[in-house]
Amino acid sequence: MARFGMVIDTAKCVGCQDCVVACKTENNVPEGFCRDWIKTEVTGTFPTLHMEIRSERCNHCSDAPCVSACPTGASHYHDVGGIVLVDHEECIGCKACIASCPYDARFVHPEGYVDKCTFCVHRVEKGMDPACVSVCPTHCMHFGDLDDPDSEVNKLLNSRKHHALLPEAGTKPNIFYLT
């Protein structure tokens, strides 16, 4: 059973937002909304600073609170790789999932349903990388099966220091950041 995830190298990311634009065009995300975004965290005082730039999105958690919170079953784990998806037809727009997501990854689409990153499941099913991964000019993003010990993502996790976001939330996120 595959478990899809991403490994993102913050040492290479320049925060250019190409991933954000690519997602918007690939998935026709309406103006004013985005499914992925850039977060910049600065610590220290000038000039001794540390900055981490991260491309963030739904973490496609293995223990996803949005799936548990959904009263209709619209939010669900996809058969392929455990990708967390929202069935637009089943969604009643109650926003329980939005309240439960510790990553603020979801929004209400102007057409009334809740929307978020799909890991570009339509591409992944064809063996392609998600759009954000495929466009990145710094090659800082990697997509693959975290359950496969030989996958590129696992090799990266085994060889580099990394962290996930809000591990304390206990949601078992599947996006990891190399530092």
Partner: protein, 735 residues
């Protein structure tokens, strides 16, 4: 080795003609016409068409996707050596240019006074007849030299051709005197060769990269960013010098938070250490340097302790970073930057960078400056152009002795204002928003008032369009062909821009506009081709290729050539001495310092900050702000201000403020970005915002304009570049 290198052409002098009388402006007013929207024939399913991007000037190879006949997305072309299959965010958002609701839709003729943005819609025939009539009159009254073409980007090709055929030598682009000019001249004076675009920097193989005033990563020149990131991955040692903790600084092993305007002091001190400690490539210097002993003597006084006072960089850090560079030579590169018009001493600054690189012995070496080559495609066999009776008006009496090859845009503005050395009566403006791209907007507007004709060709109603007599709406790059792209690069190739979709309204491609106008001016012999396909195919056939083949592939590569010198191969330097000129007799002869010297820049008065500007990854100049995909990511710019300073002044993050410069100019409101990432003596904003064109609705007064505040500029006496980091501002609360 058949390596073609870019060389500057020296322009020979000519005599100056007499001054004729001025003519009055007589605008034609026509009723507005309704434009019928075109409909695109839908083709079911996905269609992929290769082309090259135009959101900036990098010209990345791309593949556009149509879904059921509608433009869906655009990706990098994997075959293209510049993009390698990946575009930058602007390129990825390029389809937003086609869908932009703010686009110019039909030709416009001015109705009210200039700058009032009052126009009537006219037909192409009416617009071009008006322009042709005016241009003919200018030619007969003042001579063809009285027309100036300001252009930017490959789309200017056919207008350059038109203007040469018309007979003017005054063709210019602000990308020289307002951007990369000092760098090209600084390197040309040192190596006899320019850096060129794309830069010939072998970043991906460098083991040590020094960025001084170059914010790669925020500046999204695609190949540069890709190679920089590859170098970071390989563990290259990065040294970043910037008053602002840039994105690149966050990747650096050493960050040097330099006081703005003191780069030359640091560069001299670095060279002082490298020479004193004999860390340079001795064999290389012995073989290829001219005037090294004089240089050595000149720089002996610039110790790190001396530089500390000027730059605020600790002497030990200067020594450590100098040794770091030397450790990795020749795979160390001090990036020459691109936009280098800052303090008016910029050619000497670039010379110092060129010399520091020379100490690393990196010319023609892996990880240094590679030797680029190109796919040689012959030019179209046009008849010869008429020889202008007068030389270009941008640099009378060669006031700036090394302003060679390219014309000074600010020089032509000056000539327009003063009518010296002869009157300039017409401006044809293509793809450059002059009120934002030239310093001191007031001078630009005053110069416009002296004109009999100003034509602007653009895709959106930019500020400069608001000042035009005639505005011509151009098709965006996804709707047109352009000339072939054959840059000097690490791989020679030819790439094609071709239409992917129809223009939605009455927009026309530049080649069509130039040809039609040429015919109306009686210059039809210069436009012998029926359409651009015929032009492109003729050029390609001369190189044994065809348009049909290139349309399919988008990119064709030239046979591979070496880009590094062989072990025993000598580099060629096209300087008068045939060597790298550490001591420049050329400069000395014209009264300039033969070895770069440091002069302390003017300090901001008490309570003032130095105004710095730069780029953001999602916008190009002032031309992408109405693209919905990109404006969604950045709708306005911010004012970067040091957190301590903001605390003292009581400025909160996200609060709107205004800036007032030393000449009393007050900016639009701009959001304060209170951050640790900048020095206390300067503030920073991204260029291209705060536009004043009411027609350009989506951008009107969004953020503040650095250009508006750049009322002062310091001209580089060597080549006429305009140093623009010499303005000081105070911060006022938004009321």
């Amino acid at each position: 080795m058949a390596i073609s290198r870019r060389r500057f052409l020296k322009i020979t002098g000519a005599t100056f003609g007499a001054v004729a009388a001025t003519s009055a402006i007589n605008p034609v007013i026509k009723g507005a016409k309704k434009i019928e929207e075109k409909t695109v024939k839908p083709v079911k399913g996905i269609v992929k068409i290769p082309t090259y991007c135009d959101i900036c000037f990098w010209k990345c190879g791309a593949v556009a996707y149509l879904k059921d006949g509608k433009l869906w997305k655009i990706e990098g072309n994997p075959e293209d050596p510049l993009s390698k299959g990946r575009l930058c965010p602007r390129g990825t958002g390029g389809i937003g240019a086609h869908y932009d609701e703010n686009r110019l839709k039909a030709p416009l003729l001015r109705k009210g006074s200039r700058g009032k943005e009052e126009f009537v819609q006219v037909t192409w025939d009416e617009a071009l007849d008006f322009i042709a009539r005016k241009m003919k009159k200018i030619k007969s009254d003042y001579g063809p030299e009285s027309m100036v073409l300001f252009s930017h980007g490959v789309g200017g090709t056919f207008f350059k051709h038109l203007m040469k055929a018309y007979g003017t030598p005054n063709l210019t682009a602000p990308s020289f005197a307002q951007c990369r000019g000092p760098r090209e001249i600084g390197f040309d004076l040192t190596y006899g060769d320019a850096i060129g675009s794309p830069e010939r920097t072998d970043l991906k193989n460098a083991e040590c990269i020094v960025l001084i005033g170059s914010h790669i990563g925020e500046n999204m020149h695609n190949t540069q960013v890709q190679e920089f990131s590859a170098a970071v991955e390989k563990g290259a040692s990065i040294i970043v010098v910037d008053p602002r903790f840039s994105v690149a600084a966050s990747k650096a092993k050493y960050y040097l938070p330099i006081k703005p305007g003191t780069d030359i002091a640091l560069l001299l001190a670095w060279m002082n250490v490298i020479v004193n400690e004999k860390l340079y490539d001795e064999e290389f210097i012995n073989k290829y340097a001219f005037g090294f002993e004089q240089f050595k003597y000149e720089i002996s006084k610039y110790t790190p302790e001396w530089a500390y006072i000027e730059t605020t960089i600790e002497p030990e850090l200067i020594r450590k970073t100098a040794r770091e560079m030397a450790r990795y030579k020749p795979a160390t590169i001090v990036h020459p930057g691109r936009h280098t018009t800052w303090y008016g001493n910029d050619t000497q600054r670039s010379r110092a960078i060129a010399l520091l690189n020379a100490l690393m012995g990196n010319w023609g070496k892996k990880g240094g400056f590679y030797l680029p080559y190109k796919y040689e495609i012959p030019k179209y066999p046009y008849p010869p152009y008429p020889k202008p009776a007068r030389e270009a008006a941008d640099n009378p009496n060669h006031k700036y002795p090394f302003a060679e090859g390219e014309k000074l845009s600010t020089g032509l503005r000056e000539a327009t204002l003063t009518e010296k050395p002869y009157p300039i009566k017409g401006w044809f403006v293509y793809g450059t928003n002059l009120t934002q791209s030239l310093p001191n907007r007031k001078e630009t507007i005053e110069a416009i008032q002296k004109l009999d004709l100003i034509v602007v060709v653009d895709v959106v109603p930019s500020e400069i369009a608001g000042w035009a007599d005639v505005v011509l709406p151009e098709s965006v790059y996804l709707e047109r062909y352009d000339d072939l792209n054959t840059p000097l690069f690490r791989e020679g190739f030819v790439s094609l821009r071709q239409p992917v979709v129809d223009s939605p309204h009455d927009q026309k491609p530049n080649w069509w506009i130039a040809k039609k106008l040429g015919e109306k001016l009686g210059l039809q012999k210069y436009f012998p081709w029926k359409n651009i396909e015929e032009y492109l195919d003729t050029r390609l056939k001369l190189a044994g290729l065809s348009l049909k083949e290139l349309k399919k592939k988008g990119v064709i590569k030239a046979p591979e050539e070496p880009v590094y010198l062989d072990k025993n191969e000598d580099p060629e330097f096209y300087t008068p001495t045939g060597k790298i000129e550490f001591y420049s007799l050329q400069l000395k002869e014209k009264g300039f310092d033969p070895v770069p010297k440091y002069t302390r820049p003017e300090e901001p008065p008490a309570g003032y900050f130095r105004l710095l500007y730069g780029r953001a990854p999602v916008h190009t100049f002032s031309k992408t702000q109405s693209n919905k995909l990109l404006s969604d990511l950045m709708q306005e710019n911010e004012l970067w201000i040091n957190a301590d300073v903001a605390r003292r002044m009581g400025i909160k993050n996200g609060e709107y403020v205004r800036l007032k410069n030393q000449d009393g100019i007050v900016s639009n409101k701009v959001k304060a970005k209170v951050t640790e990432r900048i020095r206390t003596d300067c503030v920073f904003m991204v260029h291209g915002f705060g536009q004043q064109s009411k027609m350009y609705r989506k951008t009107f007064e969004k953020g503040a304009s650095d250009s508006q505040l750049i009322t002062r500029y310091k001209v580089d006496p060597i080549m006429g570049g305009t140093g623009m980091n010499v303005n000081f501002v105070t911060i006022e609360w938004e009321v």
